[in-house]
Symmetry: D2
Subunit: 475 residues, 4 copies
Amino acid sequence: MHQFDSPNEACGAFGICVPGLDIAQPTYSAMYALQHRGQEAAGIATCDGKTAYIHKGLGLVSQVFNEDNLSHLHGHLGIGHTRYSTTGSPRLSNTQPYILETLDGPLAIAHNGNLINAPQLRRKLLEGGVGLSTSTDSELIIHLLASARGSWLQRIRQMMAIAEGAYALTILTRDAIYGVRDPWGLRPLVLGELENGYAIASESCAFAPIGARVVREIEPGEIVRIDQEGHKIVQGAPAEQAAFCTFEQIYFARPDSILNGRLVHQARQALGRQLARDAPIEADIVVSVPDSGTPHAIGYAQESGIEYSEGLIKSHYIGRTFIQPTDRQRKFGVAMKFNPLPDNLRGQRVVLVDDSIVRGNTCGPLVQLLRDAGATEIHMRVACPPIRFPCFMGIDMANQSELIAAQKSVEEIRDHICADSLAYLSVDGMMNALRSENGYCNACFTGQYPFETPVLELELELKEKEKFAGVLGGS
Amino acid sequence: MHQFDSPNEACGAFGICVPGLDIAQPTYSAMYALQHRGQEAAGIATCDGKTAYIHKGLGLVSQVFNEDNLSHLHGHLGIGHTRYSTTGSPRLSNTQPYILETLDGPLAIAHNGNLINAPQLRRKLLEGGVGLSTSTDSELIIHLLASARGSWLQRIRQMMAIAEGAYALTILTRDAIYGVRDPWGLRPLVLGELENGYAIASESCAFAPIGARVVREIEPGEIVRIDQEGHKIVQGAPAEQAAFCTFEQIYFARPDSILNGRLVHQARQALGRQLARDAPIEADIVVSVPDSGTPHAIGYAQESGIEYSEGLIKSHYIGRTFIQPTDRQRKFGVAMKFNPLPDNLRGQRVVLVDDSIVRGNTCGPLVQLLRDAGATEIHMRVACPPIRFPCFMGIDMANQSELIAAQKSVEEIRDHICADSLAYLSVDGMMNALRSENGYCNACFTGQYPFETPVLELELELKEKEKFAGVLGGS
Amino acid sequence: MHQFDSPNEACGAFGICVPGLDIAQPTYSAMYALQHRGQEAAGIATCDGKTAYIHKGLGLVSQVFNEDNLSHLHGHLGIGHTRYSTTGSPRLSNTQPYILETLDGPLAIAHNGNLINAPQLRRKLLEGGVGLSTSTDSELIIHLLASARGSWLQRIRQMMAIAEGAYALTILTRDAIYGVRDPWGLRPLVLGELENGYAIASESCAFAPIGARVVREIEPGEIVRIDQEGHKIVQGAPAEQAAFCTFEQIYFARPDSILNGRLVHQARQALGRQLARDAPIEADIVVSVPDSGTPHAIGYAQESGIEYSEGLIKSHYIGRTFIQPTDRQRKFGVAMKFNPLPDNLRGQRVVLVDDSIVRGNTCGPLVQLLRDAGATEIHMRVACPPIRFPCFMGIDMANQSELIAAQKSVEEIRDHICADSLAYLSVDGMMNALRSENGYCNACFTGQYPFETPVLELELELKEKEKFAGVLGGS
Amino acid sequence: MHQFDSPNEACGAFGICVPGLDIAQPTYSAMYALQHRGQEAAGIATCDGKTAYIHKGLGLVSQVFNEDNLSHLHGHLGIGHTRYSTTGSPRLSNTQPYILETLDGPLAIAHNGNLINAPQLRRKLLEGGVGLSTSTDSELIIHLLASARGSWLQRIRQMMAIAEGAYALTILTRDAIYGVRDPWGLRPLVLGELENGYAIASESCAFAPIGARVVREIEPGEIVRIDQEGHKIVQGAPAEQAAFCTFEQIYFARPDSILNGRLVHQARQALGRQLARDAPIEADIVVSVPDSGTPHAIGYAQESGIEYSEGLIKSHYIGRTFIQPTDRQRKFGVAMKFNPLPDNLRGQRVVLVDDSIVRGNTCGPLVQLLRDAGATEIHMRVACPPIRFPCFMGIDMANQSELIAAQKSVEEIRDHICADSLAYLSVDGMMNALRSENGYCNACFTGQYPFETPVLELELELKEKEKFAGVLGGS
């Protein structure tokens, strides 16, 4: 899937406790590995058992942090956050971790996900006399924790009892780091072990750079506490019907992470193999839309016996281009990111495999690119079902009106992108490949949300929130 | 008084309501006029009766704002703030106005002053489950207002009932702007009238650039509300024994402001005249330490009949110099800011008049400068009494150990600065010139604070606060 | 004269040689004192007898330099430059000193002034195969020096033989610093002496902060060389009829500098006294347009016997305001910079003294300001003649069409600014006060330029240059 | 090859002429495609037949340019440059294109390569009275052109007659764009054709995004001129023994570019196949060091019949990390850029294919990474010969002392990186795969340079240049 046609993940969270060690540098390394979960802003909060320290800013992890500011983040306890914002221009005030002073010492949180009853929680807090300074769900969570009573564990449980939606949290207190996963398990969270301590991360790929190894994934509704004593996992709220986000498997998570017990790269190859079984075609080569479609394409090639070949080279220079496409450029837009390898394509019947199609605005130019490079037939294969419904659980999927599959039939899409054939993986096929019948949230494909809240109402509330964002906007 | 030897004012506040007009531009103009009350940061919050808008940043008013960001600040209601920070490096998170969403719409405040029972208020809020994100008094005030019950007027009264110390506030709500002055009247606040609306400012100098005229000064303990209906002044808390800050008259306020019913420039000339009566000397010319000592020097010249003459030229290029003084530079340090006019000084007996002496580290070099330029005698005259005690009500006076008059006798100071004679104005003389016997806070001269809180305890608490500032530090 | 109505000086130059000392810090201090001659950019080049070092940038001296970058500027030889640009947006590529490698080691120059035969010199260099990268006169000078033959002294003489116009230069080579003043003496240059070395500066005010004292002013056509051996002054080109810029005396130079043997502050008081003799008026107080008009006003008061009084307070907060004046603001524009002191003005007949009027766009609002504050009569007195002609020798005087005195008679101007009376100093009166009959360039008053080049032709060439500036524009 | 172990290409050049079209936007697109040839700085110069325009800055193409500054670059003629600097901190003054005014209008150049007789050319220019402001070869070239006589074609020929070394140039004049390739053909240059014009680029990958197609590569010693009339190719200097840089084929060029008549991706697969023939091994899977080693690995897999498998995932987040490796981090350094896929590696005998080894500091950690992930044997295969000699023709290869193959035997390297076996491609094998016996410069492998200049002397001169760079350093 091309970056101009991709859903946007909302945030990566991390937490660590290594008694006796200043953990700012390993936290930096881990967040660098979670960079794919948010490129807009980054932050780290630490605590030495007494005082808390924080630094955050707009930009990539490597832009926000340097040796100097890391050196001021003392302590053996730390959490980190990488952020992708879903609305408007990036704001420093929305950057996480959030931090507050409380009667029980500093409290900081890093949050990945999206609450669906935010308006209700918002009202509850305001009625309690708590003033709010941003429009984010994450600020609600930290104030719910701050205004609750009892031990931190008790407070977290109180928060879980009323917060509905997606949340994978890392929480810093004076004495410990907590990891919390919502009862549906919508967003991932995993526990790791270092030589002398423990870490918690949105994805296990954060562990390799700090020499940690996976202990186990945090299960829906669980709370993990890591401190000087070690780690302890308790149930924070009863697990609901599991609804792990399928899109983490298909696209978001890094291929070297482990999700639901399996390496993501393996899961994607399995999706490709399933796709080959479900939508076979006679062709000469299998080509991927790099980089995200590559494991699926390799799986397709393995299962189909058709040779895998590099047909498209992707430029990896990041840096948002500020140039608006002119007529001239629109024609060559995709060509700035992808270059075909004509020698591999000339005269070939090509299976072009991508992980997913969201808006569908890059498939057409890509098909044309291959055809211009000499491909005689182009058969598009997509390793997930058509995306027809918006996500309210933390993924910026585009509005429903922008989702091409919500507007067009498969045949119409095929026609639109000028492919010789087009096939998607079915929901059943996808679930089969992911070795699960019911543990996943497939709402974006099926419209069946894990919550009862009607979609239209949700959309309305989201709009309210955006309006509110304007109320307290600023730099 | 030289900038390197000056107490630092903590902040300027402004508020305005002009129905039917976008007030961002006049607010900008007014804050530009209040720039002398804080050069570290500036901010404006506005409201159109429904939505609030805010922009703030580090730097001068003219650096923080431009046409573009002003154009986004809609509405007929607005408050503004210029900030001088008293501790450590400037932080964006401490920049005002503070703004919160509440059940009754947006709430924003701009605060000038310092609370003396902040630790108690802090604890009270934390015990109520409110998490705090900064170590400022101003955040306490906004949360006290947000967590109180009833109308805004009722909430302000509740806040005034428990907050002790100096506060001149402008408060923005959905429907009105409020101005609040503490019961001691420590910091100034004045009401003005425009063609179709009203404004509130720390000083009346903010009115000229927006075409407003003074209605009257807000009295200790009063609350003024300005809205679509006009203005209304009520008593918010019983007035205490008036304790208006003498230093506003002597140094802080702009000479074209009106304080206690008189133009500050006039008050300063009166101080100079009193000084001439109390500490006469035979001399040829009166020279001021520009710019702040000039009105006092003119008063001295008028009363004494000795000719006023320009003897020192001051460079007005702002821009903190980052260069640490080397041995060589320390010798010439003052010479970078002041240049003598030898033709006016050669062979003259000089009365050198300054408004005040704080640390006393620039008087010596200035005396030397005049002597090198040919002055035969230099008689230093200071238009206020020796400063011997720290301020806990919003002025960054330096620690007591840094106050030269707390460490040395007048004769020792004279010797230290190598003047031929040195005289200060007495407290009685000062009060006489200011036409008041008891309405002023002279704690920095006398050690008699308007509150009962023992000084040492206060200092301890201030130190605690600084430490806490570290707890939640960050950018 | 108000900053919005002021001609702009083009640059300050400085040079220093102190054997055995790293001169970066004294150079910084000296440039800080020359800041009034250019706020757009600043730069320092140094040499340790072998290698040259340079740092320059856009902004004030205190913004461009810090301890770190100064610490990299090694050597006992140095030159510095502060720049005011006359056209368009500031460009880093136009920032001085310019520096080149030559066969005889590094060569750097700092230039104040403007050549009038730049197009001819430009052509000569281009014909010689030298490519030029900017449109500045200063680049022409450095290339003329680089492409000449012989010793540096010989090269400077060759350059002086063909360059016509205003130039005060400091030149850095491997072994010495040179100071050069054009044969007309249009721009000032003065030699100073430190404990162990020498310095050269546009104005003597640069000497005080570095502990230097004036040796003597460099005369028209002279070259001074300072090096390990001391200093040596030689004639570089025959002196022409002296044509020192009157405006340096009236407005540009700092009052504590010495020009033509007299303290500038004294010269300005003398201009004010002459003005009182030439244009007396019955009045109650003399008020200045601060700060630049103050010495003239004091002189006027001294001579006329009318009391000098502060009537206008000027805000010294620098920082260009980006806000375009709206109708509302135009009315209050001047009020943001000047505030009247009504108590001093009420019921008074005022003589308002300014050093000069260029465009005339601030006098009117100032007169109105005084009148609103209660002045009953306002008599404007200007301490120089009407400015009617543009300057081609380094001062950005505005186009002739913008000069109010080139468009209106004195009576029309009086009417325009709504003063009760208006009088200018005459050319003869001015020359009398400056104790000189013919040593000054009064072209901006009289249209008699020190060069034969017809004005219109010059204007044409200047336009060509501006066009050319576009040719090689950039960042 | 890992970025921390890669030679650095010095620059990409581009030129374009499309009569009637403003070419700033296509130039931007083309430079975006040449971003891999230099990420330090970028610039564009254009000309509309009369006036030249330029914008350049430090950073990526997408950072330096935006719609606003592109809109000021008028004209149908343009050149662009992306820069990689070889020494010290990036400097704006070294950013290209360089531009000069000459008697024949504007002249600008974009240069890729390195001259080996720069010191001689430098002296020649200085002796001619031309002052130089940088230490770059490129400034020498533009001044050689500016100071030469005759038509631009004649001047280019004069320059070619005396410049020795590597240079691929694009040159902008008032009427035409020129492309110039040195007589040895060391650096690539290719001509393309658009609908209504022509373009010249370092690599053909720049053509796809602007809708151009390859006409032909510029041959050694050729000059191409493109203008309103079309294009014309002439011989500028006699071709020398061809010495095209092998490293462009192996690593630098983008895989979708055409070099020496063949798609680079194909050439790299051919190198991998040759490697499989020359250094076979019994193994289970072939794994590449992504991304640059992937085509070679695919070629190896194809020829050997061993399955190609993804074993390492590379993070594509650019952004130099400022964090110095601590002991802890050094251990995990490579792990921040590469993540293994254990499921693909466990129990496997792995052939690890990389395109080249320079310093050898990342191979060891990579081998360890694979072993930790479960690989039982790791056989390193390198698709070029050992690099033993420095490059003086434009590639920043590291000093000879840093080249691991200059210090250690193949067996010692194998031992150093802990591989089970290690084999390099031979020079003969490489030339065979590249279908050439003598057209390449293999100096870095063989020490046989295309010029007679002894290596040691060159190194000395390079050091001189670096020292000189210090002489004229700055911002």
